[in-house]
């Protein structure tokens, strides 16, 4: 099992708290790094800005990515991730409120590995996050680290 952190990209503090709470409850011990918008997420992944000096080769185990965010939205983040060799195969799950077909299509077209709509019910949300965590951290065989 990977002990690499999970990068949560979420601009709504309440949603971030509920997601972190649900991840903890699912028994995963991976550190959760919170980026509050797309720019911060890219800064973390590429070791710049606030994360200047962080080694970009230390990719997180999984990125949980919201779509609608200020500054840089999730789709743009995804496109920039896929365009960069260091993060081109990083597992990214879009975790969003939107059930709009256009978001679904754009997410997959931009290289998302999965798309999960956040349920309003906490119990359902916890179950969704638990399954996500278990699958992507325990079950799934991640891509080999880029050289």
């Amino acid at each position: 099992m990977t002990t690499k952190p999970i990068l949560l990209v979420e601009d709504t503090p309440d949603d971030a708290e509920l997601t972190i709470m649900s991840l903890k409850q699912s028994g995963l011990v991976n550190e959760v790094v919170l980026a509050e918008d797309g720019v911060e997420a890219l800064d973390y992944l590429f070791g710049r800005g606030k994360y200047e000096g962080r080694n970009a080769k230390d990719t997180p185990a999984l990125v949980l990515l919201d779509i609608k965010m200020p500054r840089l939205d999730g789709i743009e983040v995804l496109q920039q991730l896929r365009a960069d060799k260091r993060t081109s195969v990083l597992p990214v799950v879009v975790l969003t409120t939107s059930s709009e077909d256009v978001d679904l299509a754009r997410a997959y077209e931009s290289g998302a590995n999965a798309y999960v709509r956040k349920p309003v019910s906490l119990a359902q949300f916890q179950e969704a996050v638990r399954q996500l965590g278990l699958f992507w951290i325990l079950t799934n065989e991640p891509p080999k680290a880029p050289r």
Partner: protein
């Protein structure tokens, strides 16, 4: 008579004819001028109408764009606080259950139930706007297999129920299969729901050929309704039954009506309280199959 007076007389006649011809020509020219003025006037009028139409088109486009971004905002922004309300009240229920009185636990439950209800309402509202925004793609389609598929799904929700479905063999129409599935899922879903208290539910989907048109009909022997309120049937968020008796948000029939209206068809109902309901609709341009 001398030849010169004959000549004069002939000239006079010719002159008179020329004058008459001239007068006719002048009259014709005047009529032409009037006609040309009329045409110019008409042309100006058409130009004004065209400008008006262009303006309206632009306004409609702007309105459509606004509707789209409105729906998008509803989908994203209205839901987020709902998840906070629901999520944290449930979190509180989970962590403080032993410390809460029965009343307090019930209040928390009411908060999260209300948030869940509002989430369903926003989802329904979005469904309705998705139908409005979607493009109509007509093709020859048999509604019977679509209906049977919907029925199969309904039966799975409650396999024990005693329900008889009668779906005609060939229910062809020139329609959008995706949108018609939405309409039939709602109509048959309603029939299924409102026959829930019958010992034997009878639900049919048929087609009648009337002199001027073909009419499709979904009929049930369920709870029915009072025709006095029939005008409210197809308006969104209008309900004729209490949520306690028959749950729902009142968007289903509004969705059906939008689908039928998008096809240029009509929809209407006939019912009696306690004796079932029948919903009729037409789809203009349907294909006749012998």
């Amino acid at each position: 008579m001398s030849s010169s007076s004959e000549k004069h007389a002939a000239e006079a006649i010719e002159n008179a004819e020329l004058k008459a011809q001239n007068a006719r020509l002048q009259a014709a020219a005047k009529a032409d001028r009037i006609a040309i003025d009329d045409l110019k006037e008409a042309q100006r009028h058409i130009e004004i109408l065209n400008l008006d139409l262009e303006g309206r088109n632009r306004a409609l486009e702007a309105l459509n764009k606004e509707l789209e971004s409105f729906s998008y905002a509803v989908s994203h922004d209205l839901r987020s606080p709902l998840r906070s309300i629901h999520g944290f009240s449930e979190a509180l229920t989970q962590s403080a259950a032993s410390k809460l009185s029965r009343d307090e636990a019930a209040w928390l439950q009411k908060i999260s139930d209300a948030a869940a209800r509002m989430d369903r309402l926003t989802e329904d509202l979005l469904r309705l706007s998705r139908i409005t925004r979607s493009e109509l793609k007509r093709e020859p389609v048999d509604l019977a297999p679509i209906a049977r598929d919907v029925v199969h799904e309904l039966r799975q929700t409650d396999p024990e129920r005693n329900a008889v479905f009668a779906i005609s063999d060939s229910l062809t129409a020139e329609a959008d299969p995706v949108l018609m599935r939405v309409a039939l899922a709602n109509l048959l879903g309603n029939a299924w729901k409102y026959t829930g208290r019958r010992s034997e539910a009878l639900i049919s989907f048929t087609k009648e050929r009337r002199p001027d048109q073909t009419v499709f009909c979904v009929r049930d022997n369920g709870a029915g309704f009072d025709m006095a309120y029939a005008s409210k049937l197809f308006a969104p968020f209008q309900r004729l039954h209490s949520a306690r008796e028959y749950p729902g948000s009142g968007v289903g029939l509004a969705c059906v009506a939008r689908v039928i209206h998008k096809h240029g068809g009509r929809i209407w109902a006939d019912a009696k309280t306690g004796e079932g309901a029948a919903f009729f609709f037409t789809i203009p341009g349907e294909i006749c199959v012998q």
